[in-house]
């Protein structure tokens, strides 16, 4: 067993840290404050290949690993959680399901443009009445011979409005339950498909989160992803992979908060000494750092298993559960260490605390992760 990064991964980490520090971090407060999608950062990331890391070169990807991809999401999120989720939703929720389930024709049509970053991707599963109970899909897709007609709506869709390609889950045969659910590829500007209201959120405020509305939206027959009735499985498998991305995002947020807190506690003097000299500070920081490192090992282990074709669903659930709860705990404590300053927008730490909360909610709440983990040990 080897816990060391290999030389490629070391070089990759050097590049992505440098990029996050110089290109992403300087914009983090601004995209949060202005609730602005960091499109210029996406263009820069596209140029160096960050939008298609774990996809083979033959489909326009970079031929990298899920390990590298999760390291990228971690380092980007360490600087700006918004930027981290843009990459994670694009890669895990749109590029990956097309790569894993698409026909050769679909892969050739969509992957090169998605991996080059010319197109951004998104994924639509959640509905007003289908959140954790994702099987309660009310969006329908009717087979009309040479086309599909989609009706319904999706909510809380990351990258909506900026994405060119959407993976949309819809009911094709209600009588079949989860076996009557199918997955589709819908391009922006398809007649009958519009973007609804944009959510105003607590955190990751630069990320675009909108409603998708389908009114007699006609898509070509070829845009069915996978087989009819296999959509629920595709969605669940997609989320398994997505959880590695969100776990990496949570880890990055927690690490960013650690960086700020270590610096602050050394500088901040009260009672004539740095607050880092107090044992209460030291013991709390030790616990926080231990949890961050444990999260990192869980994320790396899940990514390793995915890269090596091993079952990773439970590992991804554990990584996301633990990293998300660690991010929330670490950022909350980090604000406490910063005192009144930490509560203001003069310091980045309150933003990190707001950003952390979503990692316990999206792509499966912490409760869903516990259901997944429990099911795997009690089967």
């Amino acid at each position: 067993m080897d816990f060391k990064l290999n030389k490629k991964e070391e070089l990759f980490l050097q590049m992505i840290r440098d990029f996050a520090e110089n290109e992403v971090k300087p914009l983090a407060a601004e995209v949060d404050e202005e609730e602005r999608f960091p499109i210029e950062t996406v263009e820069k990331m596209a140029k160096i290949g960050i939008m298609g890391i774990p996809i083979p070169i033959e489909y326009g990807g970079q031929g990298g690993t899920n390990q590298m991809y999760s390291m990228a999401v971690e380092e980007l999120s360490r600087a700006c959680a918004t930027t981290g989720v843009v990459v994670s939703a694009h890669t895990s929720l749109c590029v990956a399901p097309i790569f894993e389930n698409g026909t050769e024709q679909q892969k050739q049509k969509y992957l090169p443009k998605l991996c080059s970053g010319e197109w951004i991707g998104a994924f639509g599963l959640t509905e007003p009445n289908a959140g954790t109970d994702a099987a309660m899909q009310q969006t329908t897709a009717i087979d009309e011979g040479d086309k599909w007609i989609i009706n319904g709506s999706k909510i809380f869709i990351t990258n909506a409005g900026y994405a060119h390609v959407y993976i949309v889950i819809a009911m094709t045969d209600k009588s079949q339950g989860t076996k009557g659910i199918s997955a589709f590829i819908v391009e922006k500007d398809t007649p009958g498909f519009t973007i609804g209201k944009k959510e105003k959120k607590l955190g990751i405020r630069g990320s675009a989160t909108c409603e998708l509305i389908f009114e007699n939206c006609e898509i070509p027959k070829d845009n069915l992803l996978g087989k009819v009735g296999k959509g629920f499985g595709i969605a669940m498998k997609t989320l398994d992979g997505g959880r590695i991305g969100i776990a990496a995002q949570a880890l990055g947020i927690a690490q960013g908060a650690m960086d700020e807190t270590i610096k602050y506690t050394k500088e901040r003097k009260q009672f004539n000494k740095s607050i880092s000299k107090f044992q209460n500070t030291q013991f709390q920081l030790a616990d926080m750092e231990t949890k961050v490192q444990a999260s990192r090992l869980l994320v790396r282990s899940a990514a390793y298993k995915k890269d090596n074709g091993m079952p990773y669903s439970t590992d991804a659930a554990m990584a996301k559960l633990f990293a998300a709860e660690t991010a929330m705990e670490v950022t909350t404590k980090a604000v406490q260490f910063h005192g009144g300053y930490g509560y203001t927008r003069e310091y980045p730490i309150e933003r990190m605390m707001r950003d952390a909360k979503i990692t316990e909610i999206y792509e499966g709440t912490s409760e869903v992760q516990r259901m997944v983990i429990a099911a795997s040990i009690l089967k």
């Binding site: 030389k7 490629k8 070089l11 990759f12 050097q14 590049m15 440098d18 990029f19 140029k47 160096i48 290949g49 960050i50 890391i53 070169i57 970079q62 031929g63 990298g64 590298m68």
Partner: protein, 260 residues
């Protein structure tokens, strides 16, 4: 166009610490990077490649660990990498270093040789100009901008203490580049993934025809007598007075210290 870029691996720090006993650099715990001016030189080469098409070779002299900076150069877009390493090159000062590098460069084809202005661990700014002398090439140092006519002539803006000069030079030639001349590109993800699958050619003493007496410690006229870490200066004194009084104070202090 064939371009060769000479790069150096240096410790990533502006506060170089020295071992008080041996007088050598303390490298433990300090990550190594491509020297910033050399990275500017590599970016210049790669931007010429983007605009006009060029073959870019990077060469470095150093211990085997210097392989890392060549991989980074590959990941940025270099086409060929050579590591010049041999025990006989060890302990080289700038002259012996430039002898070895010039010896290697003689074995290669080039239209343009690029070096950084100076390395952050030595700050001599001598190796580039010395290579040009050994190879009998025209040289322009302190390059902050370069325009190419697409044929044979480079129009170069050279930084000087007072401002700048615009010079024209024909290839083959050598330029030394400032890090501020451009913003070096990031390594690309694919470049990183492929960097370790590419060959780094390892050249030693036997690959170059240079007299052994001109290399390494033997070929180095510079001897380090003593090295020490500069002591921290005191904070100095602050006087909030008008200009005339300030001038008086400064003159009297300088006289006290027998400076004037």
């Amino acid at each position: 166009m064939k371009i060769i870029v000479c790069i150096k691996q240096v410790p990533d720090t502006t506060e170089v610490r020295l071992d008080p006993v041996t007088g050598t650099l303390i490298r433990d715990g300090v990550p190594s990077i491509i020297n910033p001016d050399d990275k500017g030189g590599l970016e210049l080469a790669l931007s010429l490649k983007d605009l006009y098409g060029a073959h870019v070779t990077v060469i470095t002299m150093g211990p085997t660990q210097a392989d890392a900076v060549l991989r980074e150069a590959y990941a940025m877009g270099a086409d060929r990498a050579i590591l010049l390493t041999d025990r006989k090159f060890a302990g080289a000062d700038t002259l012996a270093t430039s002898n070895a590098l010039a010896g290697a460069l003689k074995m290669l084809e080039y239209d343009l040789i690029i070096t950084g202005r100076q390395a952050i661990d030595g700050d001599t700014a001598q190796v580039g100009p010395q290579i040009a002398e050994h190879l009998d090439l025209p040289q322009v140092s302190y390059l902050e901008n370069l325009e190419y006519d697409g044929n044979k002539t480079f129009r170069i803006r050279k930084a000087t203490e007072e401002g700048y000069q615009i010079l024209e030079v024909d290839s083959p030639c050598l330029v030394t580049v400032l890090a501020s001349a451009n913003k070096a590109r990031y390594m690309s993800v694919r470049g990183i993934i492929e960097a370790y699958d590419k060959d780094v050619e390892v050249w030693g003493f036997d690959n170059i025809s240079v007299d052994e007496s001109k290399l390494g410690l033997k070929g180095s006229p510079t001897k380090v007598k003593k090295a020490f870490t500069k002591g921290v200066k005191s904070n100095g004194e602050v006087f909030e007075v008008d200009t005339e009084e300030a001038v008086g104070i400064i003159i009297s202090r300088l006289k006290e210290k027998f400076i004037i």
